[in-house]
């Protein structure tokens, strides 16, 4: 017997894609820094923008989970 909200399951599903995306973004960032440590400053900015962009989808999922 389980009580709960289907929206939570929906949010869980919506978090999969962004999770993978964030992983890819930071994997690429780490690779880049490992290859060219001096480019760290520039890469960091790009990495965090990419991270924010992918994370945005998961956050939208969170919002919709509560808002719908």
């Amino acid at each position: 017997m389980i009580t709960g909200n289907l929206n939570a399951i929906g949010y869980g599903l919506s978090a999969i894609g962004p999770g993978i995306g964030v992983g890819i973004v930071f994997a690429a960032f780490i690779n880049g820094v490992a290859r060219q440590p001096e480019a760290r400053g520039q890469l960091q900015g790009i990495a965090f923008i990419g991270f924010a962009l992918s994370e945005a989808l998961a956050i939208l999922g969170l919002v919709l989970a509560f808002a719908l």
């Binding site: 909200n5 965090f48 924010a52 945005a56 969170l62």
Partner: protein, 260 residues
Amino acid sequence: MTTTATAPAPGFEAPGVEDFQLPPVFGPVTKPVLELVLAAVIIAAFFLVAVRKPALVPGKTQFLGEAFHGLVRNTIARDMIGGRDFVKYVPFLTALFAFILVNNLFGIIPFIQFPTFSHPSVPYALAALVYVVFTYAGIRKHGFGGYVRLSTWPPDVPWWVRIILTPIEFLSNLVLRPVTLSLRLFGNMFAGHLLLLLFVLGGEYMLLEAGDWQLKVLSPFAFLMAIVFTFFEAFVQVIQAYIFVMLTASYIGTVLADDH
């Protein structure tokens, strides 16, 4: 929309949204409100003590304050904003970082134990403030048209890509930035606090209220997990404060950049 099974589970009721609705301490003043004021007072006091006797060879407090300021200044602001402009934004970023960090850490400090930003109000307000700051910076640098163009019109892109890309850029740069900024902070704090509540309340229920002796025996593991996740939460809280400021600096950096 809630799809509920017929009856609530007998006995244990998992913590939920209603646990975040704290009763007011007095009048309209609730716990988060007190925490906000406390955080501001703590930070101001710390930094004022740190610069009470400024010296080239710093004392302990001064060193801590300077290290904090230096972290925001040299790792976040200088790398993300760059150029000579970044110094202007360092006070804002440092204050923001300190304010968010202390409010987050209230989530694991004993007897306070409620992360202020698990209520979304202040994250909304701070994200709006950040939005105003970087929009103002962008418009002042490029003019209104230049700023919108910079935000929505990526250069050197074929027209058929632009059809897709421009709405995405418009959404992500001008609409979603403050939304995600605030909700990321709120969501992490909310989920983290919920997690801790789950383990603590669950352990308490298992120890005190559950009839089975097996559950009583297993309850220490719940408390152990609560402790482990408290450390994890400390990490997440610091990281989230860092990311908030990092993204703020990065947004300011992109709107100040000369090209896209």
